[in-house]
Amino acid sequence: MNPDFTHPASPWPHRWAIALACATFPLLWVGGLVTTTDSGMAVPDWPSTYGYNLFLYPWTTWLTGPWDLFVEHGHRLLGAMVGMMTIVLLALLWRRDDRRWMRWLGGAALALVIFQGVLGGMRVRFDERTLAMLHGCTGPLFFAVTVAMVVFTSRCWWLRESSAVPPSAGYIRRLALVTCILVYLQIVVGAVLRHVPVAAEPGAFVLAVRFHLFLAAAVTLHVALLAWFVLSHARTIKPLGGLAIILAGLVAVQLALGAGTWIVKFSVPAWVSDWISTGSVAVQDGGWLQTHIITAHVAAGSLLLATSLALALFGQRLLPFASAARDAVSRRWEAAV
């Protein structure tokens, strides 16, 4: 990709992309809530809601009805809103962004959000948990696309400040890319864990749990390295330094939420009773704490994906290519790995 440093004429694609990403995140949160509260089949038909057009379903019934109906129908409404916002973004890109690939990306985003909606619908129509799992994997992917469009339309993408070639630039670029892939892989494994069929063998679940823990360690290691390299060598290149700090913070939060998820779902592991009392209160199923810690863990995964993707994209754009920037530190590290 050849850098093009001509700033676009209109700020609206960027502003709308931000709005879209900001609308998508709550959609993901509520989507996570649908799974956590097992609300997926609270509305048995699709695309209608109990026979009503999605937008014409009586709002009083929605707001005052059962909790799972509120969550599921709310998820559908939010999804529809995000879909419409994607159409608007595509129109803005078509009219206000000269980059052809960017228009195609807008089109791809629209196709993805439609695909995601249909997946969700089919999950309901067929009451199929495997489709729910795919739906749970595609959601973060769409969120990542919206964040990518925020990046591509941002001021930082267009106006690169001139700076010296930072050491380890190539390594940072590759590390950011690998981190992003690992995070998405982790999201997929998380979706498998959440949608495991009731008739699955215990061994399959154990494998998924171990893989999830292994990937958690891998992601943590990669983020730590990435943050260290960025803050050591490319802190001054906006917005890499800020993104690296946010990414490291998110990983810390996500690890805490992961541990919390285990505790509110399966109680404190028995081996912990060596050090602390296992408490006088049993795990509360469906309680506020359980519901929101688990859902926050799911949503934070998407946030981690978005941040790592933004860092990877900005890294590709703003850091010189590897051949010019590889230094002794980078080579040593790569040799060690």
Binding site: P44, A200, P202, F266, W271, S277, A282
Partner: protein, 434 residues
Amino acid sequence: MPYRTLAKFVGIFAIVALTGCGQTEPPAFRLDMVKVTENEISPKHQQAIADILGAMFGTPDAPFAMPETGLDERKLKMAAGPVWSNEAGDKHGLYRRHCAHCHGISGDGQGPTAAILNPYPRDYRRGLFKFKGTFTAAQPTDEDLRRIILNGVLATAMPAFALLPPDEVDALVEYVKYLSMRGQMETALENYVFDEGLEPDAPLDPATDAELKDIIVNDLLAGVMEGWNTVVEQVVVPTEEGIPPTDRSAEEITASVNAGRELFFGAKANCVKCHGPTGLGDGQQDNYDDWSAVTVKFEDDTRALADEIKGLKQDLKKKTGDERAAAEKELKTKVAQLAVRNELIAHMLTPRRAIPRNLRDGTYRGGRRDIDLFWRVFAGIPGMGMPATGPSAPGGQGTLTEQEMWQIVDYIQSLPFEPISEPQVRRVNVRTVN
């Protein structure tokens, strides 16, 4: 390169995930293959048993309750089947929504999450329940099951479902009993086939065999139901005068605690044997719980079979003619049996020893009320090796008097506050055994 290892891991995981998640068939009840293998039940009889159970109890999506079971079919239908709810908020598929991921579709305690949990989820099929207010050999009452569902089991993955409406809890209680009865009936049928020594191809169809139908309904099912139907008579109710008053003086409590300590360490109650001199649960550590003991026995038998096969192979070299042909046939049969057993072992939960409770933790899984602890002392904990000190049935004679049991309860409740002169640091309740 770690990335290559990662790529391999991803590949293996993807295959397992895709095959594991490709299931679209409605989940079905599974037979207890350990029992089936141990009893050497032929495939034909396995299918016959599954058919009989299907006729008596239906399927996970469409449960059926014979009148003899006394189960409420409306509640069963509410608990069974896939998860969904209607516009009014009536929930269905409650068992799959709340329970099946740990306890399994068949109630065998082998749901997908089972292997990561300690203790393992309860296997309902034996009709054996740990925390209840009935005599040691008796089934739990509905109230016992309801209490566990509502309060959960402390320090385990069994959550408290206190937020569920009463009708949903009632439906789950009914479904747990249903799975338990179904499991007990399965065992009764498997034992019947074994005890009768039926030939592998012998018919086993109550639809065409009136005598068999009579045996199944009036003998086997009646045997299963006897325990459930008489449970009301088996409730342990402590005598009013024996219950310690709530307004006891400090001296009276201290005297009771001291008496409880004497009993704890004495030969009569001998709690120290398992719970240890410090009460940390550091007494004997070698026993398995009843569920793991089945696995251990199966593994031991499988090892013995493997040794027998080695011996047969050695002997085979010395044999010729018809004798060799017969030995080869026997060897082939045994090798096939070994393969089946090894396949089963690969999918079984690793056996765990029954580690006695750390009484200084103050965490009582079966409940922390005085009456909960009294029931534990009175009736023990079935399946865990914790013996009853009360009579095994109404009207019987126990090891301890009720007064002595209450004294032990007092001592147990004092333990978390009693200093240990030489605290022992050890892992509590986590040891798994290869």
